[in-house]
Symmetry: C2
């Protein structure tokens, strides 16, 4: 689509930290030069929502801004709802690109499974829309996004130029710049790490137990081919992601069972 | 573990339709002969919650029943929370098996992505627990589960006997018996189908728009190797599922980009 220099791609932007987050504001400012921008983001932070959709309550969309080439809406749904509403209610068709983020916090490795940011990306991918999720490895509300410009620009430019193979989207994680400058971009696989859960259990003033979910990240997959290695070594990680969860390597073994 | 005839496996049961649903009640009755049963289910139906976790509010666990070899708890969390609470707060360790369901409605094909039932299964799998999700292809609250016994029994027996390869869990879908008897069990891959969204848009009494998510299932992947083909042809589908979302086939292509 970049072949036609007059064509302005329509870019749908969403996130899972809510419309006011620093990450989505940065993303909007970086993507405005690329085309017509439509923002549909949640009123509230929706971190950890995974691929949740809203089916028991109705969704509402509120117009925040409507200018030439820039429209912004907020809604009461999840990140996946934002994509569906963006396509069906706001645009009335498919955008040329969906970009989600920039998430405050890593979505590398097993975090992709819990991520609302990446759920929005996967949802767009299912609908045949090229889609990218960006995350910064810093959970802070006031995280420093000053070093991300070049990497967001490069990835978006490449996707607009090359497109993406059918059924494939990108999970991009950018290290924080606390530990020095970024060394470059690495195309990787998802590291096989996990969260070891711990609950912080307390008693409320009436003596009833309640539990806060906490946990620590545990990575035993130290291969240099992984996204976690890339981030730990100050590289931006780019993982091509698909939504076919079939474990092909197990098909033959399970076919031998007496079922 | 079936080698030692005196060993009673601990089986954690959850679902995403809530503790009162017919599907989980059926599952409990079928699994009680297999060992020590711990049920941790949601107070409410959590359909469409995907891999959501609860991080902004505390979780509470209520004891419903505590007998020898049978304990039942309800909590205010998502299906993934139920697994985490089951392990950490209730059992204080890993069960021998996690079984989720029986879901009221199909989780075959792309439905696996939105499914709370399968999110619980994948969560257990991440923690190294053999895990199975069962779904009946009938959304009705009063769905008829009378024909499922033999298939649940066969799959559970095989998993307890063979175990599952590391990082792999099972997504089992059972057709309704409206269209005649079940022909058998097929080990399959996930069909590449999708939901085509439509919103039913209305106005509230104050004239403000709201939108209900609806949609129709569209399957262009008609291969006999798929779970959707199996179900459509009265076979129970068994798909081995993993949580590595890396699209390996795209790694080389994207590595050629100028990043």
């Amino acid at each position: 689509m970049t072949e036609n220099r007059n064509y302005k791609p329509t870019i749908l932007i969403t996130n899972d930290d809510g419309y006011y987050a620093g990450g989505i504001r940065k993303l909007i400012s970086l993507l405005r030069p690329f085309g017509r921008i439509i923002v549909v983001a949640g009123e509230q932070s929706m971190s950890g929502m995974g691929h949740a959709i809203t089916i028991k309550t109705p969704l509402r969309v509120k117009t925040v801004s409507k200018e030439p080439d820039y429209e912004e809406y907020i809604c009461n749904g999840t990140p996946v709802d934002c994509v569906k509403l963006g396509e069906q209610v706001v645009i009335g068709g498919k955008p040329d690109l969906l970009v989600s983020g920039i998430n405050h916090g890593s979505n590398a490795s097993i975090n992709v499974i819990y991520s609302g940011t990446m759920a929005a990306v996967i949802e767009a991918c299912i609908d045949g829309i090229p889609a990218i999720g960006f995350s910064l490895c810093d959970y802070g509300l006031n995280a420093d996004f000053s070093h991300v410009d070049e990497f967001v620009d490069k990835v978006v430019r490449n996707v607009l130029h090359h497109g993406l193979p059918e059924g494939i989207c990108l999970n991009v994680n950018i290290p924080s710049n606390d530990s020095g400058p970024i060394k470059g971009i690495k195309v990787c696989r998802q590291a096989n790490a996990r969260w070891v859960e711990e609950f912080d259990s307390r008693q409320d003033p009436r003596g009833v137990d309640y539990h806060w979910l906490t946990g620590r990240f545990e990575n035993s997959d130290v291969s240099e081919e992984t996204d976690q290695w890339a981030i730990d070594n100050q590289f931006v990680s780019v993982v091509p992601v698909h939504y076919d969860l079939t474990a092909y390597r197990a098909l033959d073994e399970i076919k031998k069972w007496e079922l």
